[in-house]
Symmetry: C2
Subunit: 143 residues, 2 copies
């Protein structure tokens, strides 16, 4: 049967119990039915929704993004393109991040190959990372 306690739901979704309650509090999931003794009881729809949330969050989607994806997902007639757009945007962000990190990787690797001369005084780690021109990264634009 599909009646889960909050603990079951937690185990099935990987979302911690207090976090589930928090999600309910902020309206990310609906308040579920309660037992006589006031305990939450969930169905499989709620489990799916929670899994969706957990997965999307794990993938780094912003809370706002997944909120809008969730609201879209409940309206079966909503255009898929809208959801796709959110994913596309996130994809672009991820691409940007990968680019930055790859660049940083190069910098770090370069520092190592520089060899082992005595002290930090000559190491370029901090130098490279503090010199804006060195990296070509555009600050201010949130990733």
């Amino acid at each position: 049967m599909s009646s889960y306690s909050i603990g079951d739901l937690s185990a099935q979704s990987g979302v911690k119990v207090p976090t589930i309650r928090y999600y309910e509090q902020i309206g990310l999931i609906a308040a579920p039915a309660r037992t006589e003794g006031n305990q939450r009881r969930y169905g499989s729809a709620e489990l799916n929704r929670l899994r969706f949330i957990a997965h999307a969050r794990d993938m780094g989607f912003a809370m706002d993004s997944l909120k809008s994806m969730l609201s879209l997902s409940t309206r079966k007639d909503a255009p898929c393109a809208k959801v796709d757009a959110i994913v596309e945007q996130h994809l672009a962000e991820v691409d940007q991040r990968i680019k930055q990190l790859t660049r940083l990787r190069g910098e770090l690797a370069g520092m190592l190959s520089g060899g082992h001369h005595g002290t930090v005084g000559e190491c370029r780690v901090v130098e490279v990372l503090s010199d804006h021109d060195h990296c070509g990264y555009e600050h201010g634009a949130a990733a």
Copy 2:
């Protein structure tokens, strides 16, 4: 001349004024000299340090990681080998992040690959996100 007010420093580094004060408070940057009237005055060393912090944070380095890098950079006599070890550690960290993001990238791209069919009802994104088995993504590792 190299004497910046906190506002100058903010403008030069892209770090907001309250954030600079916060960084001072948690000991990430040293308490700077003050004017007669108790206002902070910074030099270019502090600007570099702040740029380093901003850059490293933008890159997604954990606070602890950049603290350890910074602490090494201030001790000019620190053995280079130690720095190298830390750089290596960060290199591994960066590699790990790149790997994660690349996998995520693939997953996101995969979601979009179905093409743009009509409605959310058939939307692959929603489907993939609610069904864990669909994606083969290993949860638990933050992006």
